[in-house]
Symmetry: C2
Subunit: 456 residues, 2 copies
């Protein structure tokens, strides 16, 4: 029996655990799930013959080391800041480690010791980061193998609501951490490179600088820039690329409407409002508008944001009951961002039968034999239900698959790493296909940045 320890059994672990348990007999696996609240784990899982559920507090170092020492490989699905404790134990107890999180600098610092110990610490092997890395590297390596030179790479990912559950004016519901959605784009100017020129977008313009794209069968989407599109430039082997742009996907119109909150100051998370508890939604809106003895909150807001009479953006605000005097904020001393989140959660929470949807879109421009060419690639995954979401599937399956590949010595290169090598991405992408996680790739005419061939 090979023992797999999964630390943290939150939202995103349903598919991950199902995958491993389904392979338990054929692959000779035993899965131990360590969680602070073992009672939350479904009976289907905890009663499984090859599964053990234990109560595990990650701050209890004896219990933690004990659990890790019994495992052959450890999967940490805890929030990223907790990984380092587990990683240090894995190093000293000589266990492999898999996480879906961004590599922290402290984790990166263990690299030479991890290599020396012949261990694999695989990170960023969820959806984004994860499937984005692997699917991009597959196409990029393919272009380079043909002798092509990559000149453009754009990549967008979105966690959205499935078309069949998409029934509000924002075409959006929270399918993941709402706080990350409310504060998205904050913390620094977005930076990317377009046709060889660096470009910068300040936060207050971010949601007005979107790009559009269409995905066959799913209609139009828009994308706004991530803070640092250049983060993986060297890792992807794109040091001299002319255009590199990474971003987040939404349905068309979301960003323009979201920008209203940004402009008002409602996404601000840097100060608290003393008297927030019991304040009405209407009063909250009025905090961000000039005083007037005569004009309504509605009129002041329309003027401030220049919203025309017939602009659908207005209906989007009404749908959220933003002008309602009877709807009250329940949070005490909350930041505007926290209050906005509370208001949005009233409208944007998935209903029992709602399904989520993951969309990923890559665009690759390259030069081959003197001709500019383009490959478009996209992936759409629709969730099954509230526990088996597309998010849990696309985050959890790559983690599970990588874990098994490491156990089976099909992934062998040691070190603290992310899934950029063929050894890693090829078997994982192949296995993901069996679960309907696959990319449609099209060779299309190169459009670059002059799609309409406008004369200069």
């Amino acid at each position: 029996m090979r023992n797999i320890l999964v630390v943290g059994a939150g939202k995103s672990t349903s598919y991950l655990i199902d995958y491993l348990l389904e392979k338990s007999i054929s692959e000779n696996l035993h899965v131990t799930i360590g969680d602070l609240y073992p009672e939350h784990i479904s009976k289907n899982v905890s009663n499984h013959e090859y599964c053990t559920v234990i109560k595990l507090d990650v701050f209890d170092s004896i219990a933690r080391q004990n659990a890790i020492s019994n495992a052959d490989i450890v999967i940490s699905m805890l929030p990223a800041r907790f990984h380092i404790k587990i990683a240090e134990d894995c190093l000293s107890l000589k266990k492999h480690l898999v996480t879906a999180s961004y590599i922290s600098s402290e984790l990166k610092a263990l690299d030479s010791q991890v290599k020396k110990a012949g261990l694999i610490f695989m990170n960023e092997i969820g959806l984004d980061p994860g499937i984005d890395h692997m699917s991009a590297m597959k196409v990029l390596d393919g272009i380079r193998e043909k002798g092509g030179k990559v000149v453009l790479f754009e990549s967008f990912t979105g966690g959205l609501v499935a078309p069949e559950s998409d029934n509000n004016l924002w075409n959006y519901k929270f399918t993941w951490n709402p706080r990350n959605v409310v504060t998205a784009g904050q913390g620094g100017t977005a930076k990317f490179i377009q046709e060889g020129t660096y470009k910068y977008i300040p936060y207050h313009k971010l949601f007005r600088r979107t790009e559009f794209f269409e995905i066959k069968g799913y209609g139009k989407f828009e994308g706004y820039a991530n803070r640092d599109s250049l983060k993986y430039r060297e890792a992807y082997g794109l040091s001299d690329i002319l255009t590199l742009y990474r971003g987040t996907m939404r349905r068309v119109g979301f960003s323009r409407a979201w920008n209203m909150f940004v402009q008002l100051g409602m996404t601000d998370d840097s100060f608290t409002i003393d008297n927030s508890k019991g304040m009405s939604y209407r009063e909250f809106v009025n905090l961000f508008l000039p005083y007037s003895p005569t004009d309504t909150v509605e009129l002041k807001l329309r003027l401030y944001l220049k919203i025309d009479q017939d602009d659908i953006m207005w209906e989007k605000l009404l749908e959220l009951k933003l002008f309602d005097s009877n709807k009250k904020i329940t949070l005490e001393n909350a930041t505007p961002a926290q209050i906005l989140q509370e208001i949005l959660e009233q409208s944007w929470t998935l209903n029992h039968d709602d399904k989520d949807m993951i969309v990923m879109y890559h665009k690759f421009g390259y030069e081959l034999e003197g001709i500019n060419r383009q490959i478009d690639s996209n992936m759409v995954v629709i969730g099954k239900n509230q526990s088996h979401t597309a998010m849990a599937k696309t985050v959890g399956l790559p983690v599970a698959i990588a874990t098994l590949l490491i156990l089976n010595k099909e992934i062998t290169t040691p070190g603290v790493q992310i899934p950029l090598s063929k050894e890693v991405y090829e078997p994982i992408l192949n296995e993901l296909q069996k679960f309907g996680i696959l990319f449609n790739e099209y060779e299309v005419p190169y459009l670059g940045y002059n799609p309409d061939s406008v004369a200069s």
Copy 2:
């Protein structure tokens, strides 16, 4: 002979030192000026019979303590962060201290020891903070003495260019620290209170939420909100005031045009641009605009900021040569804010004959015998020349006057303090009048927030 030590003889000390030296015989004063660069001090000053200039490095604790021990009172005109070293020495050597800076929390912490020693550490006794405190407290105390209840206080100060030197489209030149102008309003959402309701303005809307006012003989001005208008609410005795708004003054149209830089992201001081040195002004502007193979930087900027063909804002940009390919940035790895400052300094630096102007405007609303009333109060000071600026006059004279009043035991209340008591502001404001620094006060009809009596 009473010995006064002035530490730091920068831009703002010309009037301060002149005042003390002119009183040297009648008041029996000797002034010692300690500066890191004594050679920069004018011969008129250093050759004065009752003046000694010494080289003083504030980090040399022996030299510093030596200089302080020879003085009866110390004036620190150094940047605010250096005051604490001097204050600690003043405390142990039992010397009074005067500064024009905001009280830091470490300075505030010395209060009980300063009181116990019977010393006066007077701070915030320049222009803003300084004259603003004193002139406001005089009117506020007057209203309260009459039995009135203050319901509204608005206060604006601006360091501007004098009308006779006002010859650019921005109606603005740098008369003080340019960096503070470029980064003004950053570091947090502006907060104030209007008719009993808290109001918040995020940075990216700050320059579009200005108010206008007119000063007889000087035309119209506009004001944008300070970050924390409520800072002195309790100190001024205005705990239950309905409207409290403090801000910065500019000529009408400045803020709307400045907002273009804010919107573009050019005032951002949080990241550096690697290749800034040698970049043209035009290339700098293009960093903040979308790429286009066909459209000019001019057209892209007009569209992005929605600047009409005939909008004077456009001429303001042209005046700064912002689209010039031949004008080059000289700063290496600079932030956008640093680069913008370099560009603005090419256009907004005072010429040799230019004069500056200080404008202060207060509006007091109060209720007396059931009737709402209003007092408007304003001060305008024009500079004499480049060394004797209105800024140096309005910052330096209150410091010098306070110093003499403390020496003469006309100000006697000990402690770490700011000039809010009648004991302090009355003699200082009276003396300032002799130098043309005076307030015009008018009783006007109460306007409040419905100036046009619009029906609701």
